[in-house]
Amino acid sequence: MPLDPDQLAARVAQDIEPGSFVNLGIGQPTKVADHLPAEIGVVLHTENGMLGMGPAAVGDEVDPELTNAGKVPVTELPGAAYFHHADSFAMMRGGHLDVCVLGAFQVSASGDLANWDTGAPGSIPAVGGAMDLAIGAKRVYVMMTLFARNGGPKLVPACTYPLTGVGCVSRVYTDHAVFEIAPDGVRVLEVFGTSVEELRTRLAVPLAVDVR
């Protein structure tokens, strides 16, 4: 069976090393936090100026001056730190974050990422911190459905949407398979309810196999 969004979030969480500094993008990647047990000591970074972000705030915990990058009220964990925006992005750009997890419209076979603008008429472009994260974190993990609503693949030979970053994606976690973007091409690491043969017929990207 393909993974549902929670199972996919749990699968991404499995690959985050204990003690890592991690940024989770807004939307689906936020769910990864629900699958990171406290005892592994992962420290969450939010680009609006905090390390040690805790879960979403509920009830009396809500503080309008403590929000995440999606403007949702959150909590702070013991050992948290606050800093201003230039410092926050220096952390990203300077290669200090171990992992970021981002959503995507498309990822190319060479790891180009498109996740900020569909270029559709009437759309209003909004990039936020996506371009900084894409080029800054040591490992960039994408979490997305493998196929768009119209059935078209989102792992493609070359992105047709405007790029967020060039050659920046390390891994692509999808509902049907996990892919590694390696220097010599795309490798399938794991499949969920499908086969590499079937993926080869549905994707226009050459796939090597490294299923563990």
Binding site: T67, V127, G129, A130
Partner: protein, 231 residues
Amino acid sequence: MSRAQIFASPDEAVSVVKNGDTVLVGGFGFAGMPFDLIDALIRHGAGDLTIVSNNAGNGDVGLAALLKAGRVRKILCSFPRQVDSYVFDDLYRRGEIELEVVPQGNLAERMRAAGAGIGAFYCPTGVGTPLAEGKETRTIDGRDYVLEYPIKGDVALISAHTADTMGNLVYRKTARNFGPVMATAATTTVVQVSSIVEAGRIDPEVVVTPSIYVDRVVQVEPRHYTVQGAR
């Protein structure tokens, strides 16, 4: 201007803004948004403004109210489109406001550069994307970079938690966001705070924005909003 001045009202504090100014406006969504300074700026009447802020307004208050009042010609921001950015969305679709989208880290670093006397800097963010088109690029040690120029403000309007009578500032939680960088990057920095204490009452070790960057301070009753429908 030398030592910071303390003003009795937001209206007096923002009187320095002129038509056509570039105004840096603090806040990330509502957190850190200087609501009282913006309301005073609307009453003050300056127009044809270029605004630099992370977002293009939320709901009907703060920056959104300034946009709605028709005072803004252009906005530089990283993330205009949000669940509650309907005031901006409408102006943009009617062609009544110019938009320059800047990656969030570049927005911060370009203001940091302005405040730190840096002429321009090479940055890896945005290489190979539409936001780097037409910009000078350079390969340094095997990696590609884009040349980015400073963003300097005529005025910065920011919010902090506490000021002392010298103008030293401390912030609260993620409401800090762009405040410290904007304070350095404007000719005149105007700050609204929840409380003003005597010099010496803020531990010098915890001052975030030293008084040299602060020109005008006004104390206001804190107002808070949360983004409705934020994801």
